[in-house]
Symmetry: C2
Subunit: 216 residues, 2 copies
């Protein structure tokens, strides 16, 4: 059996390193960034059906997006990815993604306000943990059935797993916009490159895919 990896999948950031803007709300999950960080994604054949659309590009962006759930057995996400500020005060909140979320695996939501697990259509089960990255990863590894664990974001969650040295493979998508404000992915990660082999490839859409592969 191949080793069980911890992976970040096509995580988009701006030129100035922001993975989300300021002012997150129910209407604006990425705050003032709007759809600027993810426009490249919405134009692909992989993503358009998620929005009830057909067609789209089938090039490098699409091909890389199709690795999203390849050999992924569980996801860990931060509270800000699961819902807007205050979601924990709404007992009916079940995430942004409708009845059939695109995960189809156990998903561990890191929160200071745990609640009972929620089984959704299509195999997604949301679990709620008040836990450190290491503790959450131990749970997710068990739930992943030998497959890899995706660290799904947002910025603070990816950063905390990087700081803890727990990421094996990370796919970052650099989008040519300058957001100016928000959460910086690279904050506190000086010299991160020493731990990774890094490849970059630009797409005709204008984004650049950066692959970080942990050394050794």
């Amino acid at each position: 059996m191949p080793p069980q990896l911890v992976r970040v999948q096509h995580f988009a950031i701006s030129l100035d390193g922001f993975g989300t803007g300021v002012g997150q709300s129910l209407e604006q999950p990425f705050g003032h960034a709007g759809e600027r960080l993810h426009g490249w994604m919405k134009n692909t054949r992989w993503a358009r059906p998620l929005f009830g659309l057909t067609g789209g590009s089938a090039g490098i962006d699409d091909a890389l997006l199709r690795t999203f759930d390849v050999n992924i057995g569980a996801e860990i996400m931060g509270a800000n990815k699961f819902g807007p500020p205050g979601w924990h005060e709404n007992p009916d909140w079940k995430g942004w993604w409708g009845d059939n979320p695109p995960f189809h695996t156990p998903v561990f939501v890191l929160t200071h306000h745990p609640r009972p697990s929620i089984a959704m259509e299509g195999g997604t089960i949301f679990h709620f943990l008040n836990a450190s990255p290491e503790e959450a990863l131990a749970e997710a590894r068990k739930a992943a059935g030998g497959k890899d664990v995706r660290i799904g974001g947002g910025v603070k969650t990816v950063r905390s797993f990087l700081e803890a040295g727990l990421i094996n493979h990370m796919h970052i998508v650099l989008v040519p916009v300058v957001l100016g404000r928000g959460e910086r992915l690279w904050e506190g990660l000086e010299d991160l490159e020493k731990d990774f082999d890094i490849e970059a490839t630009s797409s005709p859409s204008g984004v650049t895919h950066l692959m970080f592969m942990r050394k050794g």
Copy 2:
């Protein structure tokens, strides 16, 4: 005659957007960044002779570096590019580049401590101006003989010309390192992408070349 453009040439920044580190000194022109931002450059056939070396790569990095002085008639640089902190107190300081600097044109150094111009070997003439970006550009345009004007850096100088809307074409080189500290190129430039068409291409060396072409 083609229009006289204002250009930034292969200006290197880190993943976290720093164009230089902290602690600039005579020994460390880029501070704690050391040579990490420019290692890709030193491996090219274009750059190796500057360091008394031969050989090197002749691929995309080298080809782009060879546009360095194509149709450039003058450069504007900031005080921190011309010398380490305090250079203006040394009447004999003539820049980092020896007797024959690689510019071969008039170079306008922005400083609060102007001094008489210095003619070097090979056609470089350093002029010293206490001036705004607009004022310096007017001088440089006149001196450039109809050719383009290079904005040579450092970070604050490039940023001040971007803020003033004076850059027509900008070539940024994204280097896969996380410096953590230094001068941020994108600071204060929110929504910069609205003014530019942007292309990106990654090189096998690991850097990504970003071309900003002003719209309209």
